[in-house]
Assembly symmetry: D2
């Protein structure tokens, strides 16, 4: 479903390239393929070896870079960012990458994730005389780096990162190098690729395909990657890193053509659908998925259950930002937006509707209603993940705990509220089986906090009113 309907939003994608003479263009295409991770703002900083140069703006990558801006961004290194924001449309200040100028050199940063102790650190920095121009936790990291007493940038970054807690995938750039860093739990995805002699860093591997890069490896939890004209070096800044990658990347966020930590997202989702069919079968005529994110799970459910998979719901491709909202009266008369049920497919049928998750329940209720109005006899909702009962503090906008329908309602109560004939969720075990991550010493599984409430890091008191995430 559309992010704005769902109330479940990935927050940002990062990209970087070093050693390619069309670095800004490469970053532009990369950001394009990460556009689903943030549609509110986009930015690119390039380095020509001597100077960093920035362009950023509100809107889609094409809105920001579609008018010749790339031609002004010269250099063989670049980092970029796409941003999801809860703030007003005019809030360009928080757009990334941030570029900090100093008389001894400049530093650019782009961040995906959320720091759970940003407020405490900011208090401390302000007491020491720092001033802040944004409300972003990323600016806190810049101050920590600047104030660190160490000599080299790498050491200053490592020093700064020991002080921050939470989820982060950083790409940073100075005039002569690009640096990537992943938090010790590896909560957010970050991959390394190559395109000829150049290195690329991306939140998702789908960016590699679009630019013709080959996949190299993941950035490891607690790892600092330094790329300069001498190639790539790795340093560790955490003693006990262990991967706890966000489950929702597989369930909902990442593109189906990405591999997240080496597992293809489409197959993971299809497997979730199969597990769901095994756990929660139902007798029905057709299986349909809520486009676009639940299509793979629906295919898997149908295949496992032996029920035909059909296009029972269609997304209106041309609904843009300026789409005119129907008046209350027209809405009551049935004017639809974004999503239509296919009468020819669902009329007179018992329908299994697969969705990947339920956040507040409002979207599910609307879709069930759409299907009934189009003539469905029965609507059985099957969710390819467990109930979301806890807030995320690691960079996903799940709404507050109070808004999560599953935080205080039983499955039957939710079923009643959304008006389905039956409702079932996948179990946590089913989720883990479906994604199929190996459970090894260093790489044991994934973050399940929003389902189980067990957070892989400390959670600060402030976290309940999370700092604006970036």
């Amino acid at each position: 479903m559309f992010a704005e309907i769902k109330g479940l939003n990935e927050e940002c994608g990062v990209f970087g390239v070093w050693g390619h003479k069309e670095a800004a263009h490469i970053t532009y295409y990369g950001l394009h393929s990460l556009q689903h991770r943030g549609q509110e703002g986009a930015g690119i900083v390039v380095s020509n070896g001597e100077k960093l140069q920035c362009h950023k703006g509100l809107g889609l990558v094409n809105d920001v870079f579609g008018h010749g801006e790339l031609e002004q961004l010269h250099g063989s290194g670049a980092i970029g960012h796409v941003r999801y924001t809860t703030a007003g449309a005019s809030d360009l200040t928080n757009c990334q990458p941030f570029l900090f100028n100093s008389q001894t050199g400049s530093l650019a940063l782009a961040h995906n994730g959320n720091l759970v102790n940003a407020n405490a650190l900011k208090h401390q920095l302000e007491r020491q005389g720092s001033i802040f121009q944004t409300t972003s936790d990323t600016e806190v990291v810049a101050h920590l780096i600047k104030r660190s007493g160490y000599e080299t940038l790498e050491d200053r970054i490592k020093n700064a990162l020991t002080m921050v807690k939470g989820a982060y995938a950083f790409v940073m750039m100075e005039e002569d190098k690009l640096i990537a860093a992943l938090d010790p739990n590896g909560l957010r995805p970050l991959s390394i690729g190559r395109i000829g002699e150049a290195y690329v860093i991306s939140s998702e591997t789908c960016a590699f395909d679009i630019i013709g890069a080959t996949y190299e490896r993941e950035v490891e939890p607690g790892e600092l990657i330094i790329i300069d004209d001498n190639g790539l070096r790795s340093e560790k800044f955490s003693l006990s890193p262990k991967r706890a990658i966000c489950s929702m990347e597989y369930v909902y966020f990442a593109r189906p053509d990405s591999n997240v930590d080496q597992i293809n997202v489409h197959y993971a989702r299809k497997n979730l659908g199969k597990e769901l069919a095994l756990e929660k079968p139902i007798e029905a005529d057709v299986v349909t998925g809520v486009p676009d994110s639940s299509i793979s799970a629906a295919i898997g459910y149908a295949e496992q259950a032996g029920i035909p998979y059909e296009l029972g719901l269609i997304k209106n491709r041309y609904v843009g930002r300026t789409f005119i909202q129907p008046s209350q009266e027209l809405r009551e008369q049935g004017v639809k937006m974004k999503l239509s049920a296919v009468r020819g497919v669902v009329e007179g049928k018992r329908v299994v509707m697969i969705d990947d998750s339920i956040v507040r329940g409002t979207t599910s209720r609307r879709i069930v209603k759409l299907l009934r109005e189009a003539g469905a006899l029965e609507v059985h909702v099957r969710i390819s993940s467990p109930p979301i009962q806890n807030s995320c503090f690691y960079g996903i906008d799940t709404s507050t705990k109070g808004e999560l329908i599953a935080s205080d309602k039983s499955v039957q109560e939710i079923c009643d509220e959304i008006g389905a004939d039956s409702l079932e969720f996948l179990s946590v075990e089913g989720l883990m089986r479906g994604i199929g991550r190996p459970d090894t010493e260093e790489n044991h599984g994934q973050c399940l906090a929003c389902f189980t409430g067990q957070y892989p890091t400390e959670i600060y008191p402030e976290s309940d009113h999370p700092y604006e995430k970036v």
Copy 2:
């Protein structure tokens, strides 16, 4: 696939509503759902009972109507048009609806189709003193209506339509009525719906769903529908109408959630895929479809063949008009646009790639290449329609006959050219079985001219250089 890649373009969609106090808004939502039939221009004419008022412009419906324009269009009757055009971006003149003012009243027209004798008629009209402001065949019809000696508009329209040959679905409007007309072969789709007391007319039924209208019936071949404040009347203007609806509406153009002449498009396509699996089986690991138009056929093929259906190709949702084309060098390096192969799905697999049609072959070649680069072991192309060997003169831009790869190449030659391991087309019989139209006295089948060369109307010499279609 994207229309601009395919070289196969539907030309226009029409919509009308009479008797609804938010007629302009209703038409806006209707045109939205017809947007796939034309993305180059859009227009709406409203009637408030005394006066017709027009707004039209270049671009998507939202581009044209997204800035408060609807608020200026008052009235309870409206007709609208979305346009595909081959002409330059600034060619607003040919945008529809056309609005002709006269001191005794005004007439608005919107047209989907193509008249095969427009040039001959235009010659004759010019000799009689008519002047033309557009290059559109629609303007010819307006002149014929104006010059007809009959008294009532209905009679003048009927008189004019006896003189034109070809394919047309018209919606027209005067201050106090809305009129729809379909050519005697019923080559283009045109349906009637109701929303409360109001009547709606649309090229496709998907528009009814978005506005909450219920389907009433098809406009019949050779039928004139007159809707005014007294309700709906029907008149016939052709002695021997017989339906020969365009096959490509089912194969490629119409939205899967539309019913075209009462047959659901998704199911028709799925059946074409099943027929294709029966006719042209192949041993393989995965079936994938070219998004968006071939998804249904791929699901059908997979289901029939018992091979898993997977998302092997992904369309980049955010490629807009302003997407910056990669430089030649970047393109060679592999920068992709619009479509990506999903490495995780196709790598090491024998892939059946379902597409709905092949026009010039260039797109197929690119997609086969994408799949191979993503690691597919074998790529077997299956096309869910017969080879297109003849130009269409009824409103589809199929390129000229010489550009049609199937017009002078054998299937094996095409297979070699697109680089597939095997290539097969559906037979004409398979196409007819798949769509499954009843073969009755008045409604026997569909237009197959682009496959067979048998045109349901006379074809004028001029037709080889078809008049600019609208």
Copy 3:
């Protein structure tokens, strides 16, 4: 003053060039210098000898042609138009030049003026089967040309022009020639210039200066100018032409750097100011003019009267279309727009405020108030033309007679209404002396109809509700 404040609007400017390889660019610069004659729409048609090509749009010349459109307009002949319109913002249909396509060739027309018998002609044409797509009288002329039985275009145009009455300056273009025509009274200005081998035609000579052209001569009343690759020819289509050029061109419309029928507009205005000082002297401390159109007259008044000329009123240069109107409350609090009185100049002074004309009186009242609020002791308004008491039917939008404050109010009543200490107008004789046109057989004076009610042509009954002028 700003046209929109004044309620007195010139309607359109025309331009043409033949024989210059950058014809579209030349026309663009020419239209720029005619922008004061119409800010609502602009258009250019070019001929490359084989084909006419059009681009037009709503807004200023730069809005319409500022994004690369000129690069698409190739050819060595071009005509252009800037338009003033009373209709809604979206009314592109009436924008000119009009381009009429026919299988034997195309014809483009651009028009400045107004035809007084357009409605009668249109009735007649519609009865003969013509259909109209615009509400413009220009389209009537196109139909008359098309329907004329004569062989050559020149003869058809001459035949058509014998049937129309009123004011017109036409530039027209076929593939291989440019034609200009001026009505038999020469009511509107139209001049011929040269730029190298190329000929240019323009509503005002200021366009010649901006493009580096030299002035050749006026188009004569009742003259048809034909320019093609063989040079320029002249034909007469009226037996008794006599110049009666619009006085308001001198008083208000034309740019001060134009010569209208060989008389410099700045000097004409300055002389009007001098005549006014002689006729209507007053004891005062400063003379100020309402910018921009009354500056010259104010300079003349000051010079003649021996009172210092000062900048007592300043126009805000950056008030654009999107300027946000103050709320009622802010307006009452004194938020100004467009025009400010210069406190430092007028405070404690007896001020003579020179304006070129009074239409409805509302603007004058506002300016008097501005001056008083800025501390002026006395405000004496002097108008450099006689009272406007009659509607214009020749292409000036003077509002209807009923809205003209001078149509039913005495000078003293107007003075009271605008709140001035004294008010005086220039006499008709003063106006004629000031402009100083020679009174010869063929060129005797100017149109004074809006002052005297004596119209140089027949006035049709319809004229009281004038057809939409172009």
Copy 4:
């Protein structure tokens, strides 16, 4: 003349209002009237008593605030800024006001002027751990305020201002107060006005007129003005302030309807013209001024010399940003932009052309050429200020000393270079007499540094490569 032609640019205007419920709108109109001081960017910060909110953007005030942005800015306090910038179009980062957020409150700053020791201070701050996001000297002041140990904002600001040298007019705002500060030499203008109970601060008094405010007094050199809900307080932060206001505000920058330090700009300029006529008379037929800034001086010259003042040069009002530059060939053919000579006025005449200043001489050369091409017999250039021979370090972009034509050329050499028949400048004494500032203890005269090289403050070595000014 146009700033971009002249190479002489005012840098920025500031505005503030406290205690008005439509503070954002008031600031919008105020910035409008200051638009001539900076056309590259605009911004407004509002306070609703609890929170500061910012919107800023590139372009004119209307570009930035013309689409409903003001409706989002609620509060009764506001500050605003218009900006001139030498940097690239996309450089939004340096747009003002700057807004610094901190957990104990926020601070917004807008600045007109230039600090001469900003680089030295920045070095020092960076060594102490500060990081900078802009290249603006204004950010330096924010850091100094933040790091000051004093308790109240007023004390921290005063402490910070004792450390900076140069020219500055600041308006700042916290949630509950507005603060204005002027440097100890009062180099830049800054005035206080009232509108009902509300106070307003503006770079120029013309802003008071547009919003209906009354003038109260100047901000004094070295004075800190604090405005909150209790009214206005004043504090001094400099022991020996003395006014040395920039002469060029009178000569060129300020609007003629502003009073700068209580002297009307139009009259000052007119007097400069009179002084010039007395010092440097010449026999001639007409006097003309270069619009817009030299009109007043030309009127004064004409009045004193008894030579008629005429509109010999006209500015094209509609040349906007998107005006298409003529190709080299068209330029050679004489296509003009921006400025036209009025042939009817200057042909066959001896012309005195008044300009306010000469920077690089290129503009003067072009205008002399324009006049000659329009037929002027003689062109005598008279400049209403002395030769500019030195760079300005106080916020005026005069180009570097090397580019100043008068820095190494004699008057005769300049005359030859611009192609005039004669050239004369006003003397420094004439300038002082013309402006007529009282010479008192605390207010003795004005800054003449660009003419004489005597700077009223220390000039740091860095100043020769001035920090980017704001």
